[in-house]
């Protein structure tokens, strides 16, 4: 959800399409001519049917075929739901959808293949009438959900009659929270009872739980987001976008009844109060508009990155991969490109096929892109192991990188071909941030041992990103060239 100008610039700068040589293939899935494939939700039924929720149509289902042009599509629902941007698939007869005004249970009660009942599970958030307020969800695995409630944009108005109370101090700002719970993540139990979990989100268009059950959300670069983050979301914390605090009674009573102005006026307090990202996704060259994180739960069926988070980029022709570790009690880690080119932009929703060998990618770029990239793609793992950084771990004086294959020592020992720099992004009222205090970092030593590479970087500091650039000609011992050579590690805590 970015400016067209940013996208156009990005298009000029982007590199030629790259796919990790021979390891992943991309196919475009043909959809029926009666829909625009603006994909808001993707999932699979327990019996293996792909479920696609569309932002301006209903819900399609099809059992995937090998031929991407021959999916046997059927319309589970032809009702045009209001910007369905989150789904949970329960069965071929039951799909949960988060739409603008409501969390809805869509049911086929007579099992004839067509939905015939649409129940309002809950609608704890308001609707201001602004186009930007889409919502997305992740199941809590106990019958309930976490719902990320999007804010409004100053590029659109609000209505004279709003759903939910209207707050003037929430209406101001670039992205804003004029009605309840915009910019929050809510928990809804199975009965629809709602509890606010965390505040300070701008447009958290992706929410997920990792295999350990921890909650994560991406957010979009803009006002109060210097660059796009992946947050580890914990109850009671504030993630940095002030407008949402209008709906925090304690803040309004005890701190300020004008949270936007309060943090504009006191940046130091802001830095103390906000919780930072587990992984920051640098703007411009890494990701401009992250969407749904999907943790690789395929156990190796989709390649060597089990347990890691894949994140689609709405603004870029790209899927990212995040490697997360715990350091001194906080989650932090690095981002690297995973698929770079060949997909098109608009990568909004991700879902693994039941066999884990394919990643389905639902696309939508309504509104911003010059060249619309709506559609449905799949990325198939061929089984050919790529040569990539499989993991990265912070050390006291550098980083240990583990590769998917043994490293060729001949290609790795040119110390001059390694580069590291560090910078930070300033989150404040203005839109985005340049790289602040950019420093080239000295690399006195590297050390290769089989699959691992230690890169010594003595001048590490907390609350900064370290960008590592590996030699472009680094190879595996078997001659496979390195796929992605740029890794950005977000240091929240130094290793003690």
């Amino acid at each position: 959800m970015k400016k067209a100008a940013t996208l156009a610039l990005f298009g000029l700068l982007s590199q030629a399409p790259f796919l990790s040589a021979g390891s992943y293939e991309i196919e475009a899935i043909e959809v029926p001519p009666y829909v625009v494939p603006e994909v808001g939700g993707l999932g699979f039924t327990p019996d293996g049917e792909l479920v696609v929720a569309l932002r301006r149509h209903g819900i399609l289902m099809a059992k995937p075929s090998e031929n991407p042009s021959a999916f046997p599509w059927r319309a589970f629902s032809t009702d045009s739901l209001h910007n369905s941007c989150g789904i949970q698939v329960i069965s071929r007869n039951e799909v949960i959808v988060s739409q603008m005004a409501e969390l809805t249970r869509v049911l086929d009660t007579d099992h004839d293949g067509i939905a015939d009942r649409y129940e309002n599970i809950a609608a704890p958030w308001g609707v201001s009438g602004n186009y930007h307020e889409t919502n997305t969800l992740v199941p809590d695995e106990q019958g309930g959900w976490y719902v990320s409630v999007g804010t409004a944009s100053h590029n659109g108005p609000t209505f004279a009659h709003t759903r939910g109370a209207f707050a003037t101090n929430g209406r101001t700002g670039r992205n804003y929270a004029a009605v309840p719970w915009k910019g929050w993540i809510l928990h809804l139990d199975a009965a629809g009872n709602s509890t606010p979990i965390a505040s300070g989100f701008r447009m958290a268009n992706g929410i997920a739980r990792d295999p350990q059950g921890r909650l994560f959300a991406t957010d979009n670069q803009g006002d109060w987001k210097g660059t796009s983050p992946l947050y580890h979301v914990e109850e009671g914390k504030f993630y940095g976008h002030p407008s949402s605090l209008v709906w925090d009674e304690a803040f309004m009573e005890n701190v300020s009844n004008d949270p936007l102005q309060y943090y504009i006026d006191d940046f130091e307090q802001y830095q103390q109060d906000r919780t930072r990202a587990a992984v920051e996704l640098p703007h411009g060259f890494m990701c401009n508009s992250p969407s749904e994180p999907l943790f690789d739960t395929t156990g190796g069926a989709f390649g060597p990155f089990a347990g890691q988070a894949l994140i689609g980029d709405i603004a870029g022709d790209r899927i990212l991969r995040c490697m997360i570790e715990e350091v001194d009690g906080v989650l932090q880690g690095a981002v690297v490109k995973f698929i770079d080119g060949g997909l098109g932009a608009g990568n909004n929703r991700l879902a693994f096929s039941p066999d884990g060998k394919s990643l389905y990618v639902g696309q939508t770029v309504r509104g911003w892109a010059k060249n619309l990239a709506e559609g449905l793609k799949r990325v198939i793992y061929t089984g050919e192991l790529p040569f990539e950084v499989q993991n990265i771990s912070l050390e006291k004086d550098g980083f240990t990188l583990t590769f998917t294959k043994p490293i060729s020592s001949a290609s790795s020992y040119q110390l001059a071909n390694y580069a590291a720099k560090s910078y930070w992004y300033k989150s404040f009222h203005a839109y985005g941030s340049p790289q602040m205090d950019l420093q080239e970092l000295e690399i006195p030593k590297i050390q290769v041992d089989g699959n691992t590479l230690f890169i010594q970087v003595p001048q590490l500091q907390a609350d900064r990103i370290v960008e590592l650039n590996l030699p472009a000609d680094l190879q595996a011992a078997d001659g496979t060239p390195l796929g992605q050579s740029q890794i950005c590690y977000t240091i929240r805590k130094l290793r003690k």
């Binding site: 009666y34 301006r56 319309a75 005004a101 004839d112 939905a115 009942r117 609000t158 209505f159």
Partner: protein
């Protein structure tokens, strides 16, 4: 392609198909089948029926059986509870008459059929959840909404507020549902106030401001409000039929026709809005439980009249006893001027 051209082309293709006289089977087809199989039978959501053979048997009895019982695994509805046996036979004969004409449908052409002018039919009404315009409904129609207000314009570049320049509010309905039965009837139901807000006939909605032109995608307008295309018949007045705090519960589909379920205070209400043979006329069947006496003011409107299958008229109001209020049908009939 704009809507009038699309309609013209559809009309032409129908004329070419049938000459000027529409058979009973063709009429049923255009009412109930065309939304999925295409106006000319060349397929949309459902398969092309103009091939030499159709999927589930080409004999008359096979086709009748498919129409009557449906094919659940392919999402073909069972029409046995909607159409009588004569209608099913007629429509099956019509399908046989177009078999072998080998028309090229959008699936074969690989062309999108998506437009910003969505439409339903009598047999397959179209439902969309969307922002809708208030169309001049009074503020008193929205007592359970928040009160939006103009706010000082914010300049994100320097984080300043301009108290002389206000961001205005616009007249929209945040939680609306709009339904279309073809040109016969359209209506707007509000899930926040839980009541019917307005009805119209003729063309349905122009979604261009929300969806963009053609296949859409490009953001077009600041407000994202669809345009209501046909003339209004009914517009809600300030007082709702049922007094109390509303909560929307669900809608279900009865043969494709939405039935809204909601509570107002302690009462559970259902509402089904259906077209009649009179264009623009809406038959609104309510149930309420526990039922109490109702007093419904007769409209002071030049565009519609209200009648009821129950109750009595007194002093400009329709009076329903508790017993009568358990289930009653209000018919909203356009005046000749509004047709």
């Amino acid at each position: 392609m704009d809507r009038s051209l699309a309609t013209l082309l559809t009309a032409c293709s129908l004329l070419v198909t049938a000459g000027f006289a529409q058979s009973s089977g063709e009429k049923t087809f255009s009412q109930y089948c065309a939304s999925c199989h295409g106006a000319d039978g060349s397929g949309l959501l459902g398969p092309n029926l103009t091939d030499a053979e159709v999927l589930h048997g080409s004999e008359l009895a096979d086709i009748e059986s498919v129409v009557k019982n449906g094919i659940p695994s392919k999402a073909m509805p069972a029409w046995g509870s909607v159409l009588d046996d004569n209608q099913i036979r007629d429509v099956a004969q019509y399908v046989q008459s177009i078999m072998g004409t080998n028309r090229i449908g959008p699936s074969q052409l690989g062309k999108s059929t998506v437009t910003p002018f969505p439409e339903g039919t009598l047999g397959q009404p179209y439902l969309i959840r969307t922002f809708m315009p208030t169309l001049g409904l009074s503020d008193e129609t929205f007592p359970h909404h928040g009160k939006g207000a103009p706010t000082p314009h914010y300049n994100p570049r320097d984080a300043s507020f301009d108290n002389d320049k206000l961001d205005p509010t616009i007249p929209g309905i945040p939680g609306a549902i709009a339904v279309n039965f073809g040109d016969t009837l359209s209506y707007c139901f509000d899930t926040t106030e839980c009541r019917l807000l307005y009805t119209w006939s003729g063309p349905f909605l122009d979604m261009t401001d929300y969806w963009g032109e053609g296949e859409g995608g490009q953001r077009k307008r600041f407000g994202y409000l669809p345009k209501v295309l046909g003339p209004l018949v009914f517009q809600a007045s300030a007082a709702p039929i049922f007094e109390g705090a509303p909560r929307f519960q669900a809608y279900r589909k009865e043969n494709g026709v939405p039935v809204f379920e909601y509570t107002v205070g302690q009462r559970t209400i259902t509402l089904k809005v259906e077209p009649t043979d009179t264009p623009g006329e809406a038959r609104c069947t309510y149930s309420s439980s526990p039922a109490t006496e109702l007093s419904i003011p007769l409209p002071d409107s030049s565009s519609y009249t209200l009648s009821c299958d129950q109750g009595s008229l007194a002093a400009g109001t329709l009076q329903l006893s508790a017993e009568e209020a358990a289930t009653f049908t209000l018919t909203l009939t356009p005046t000749p001027a509004a047709r």
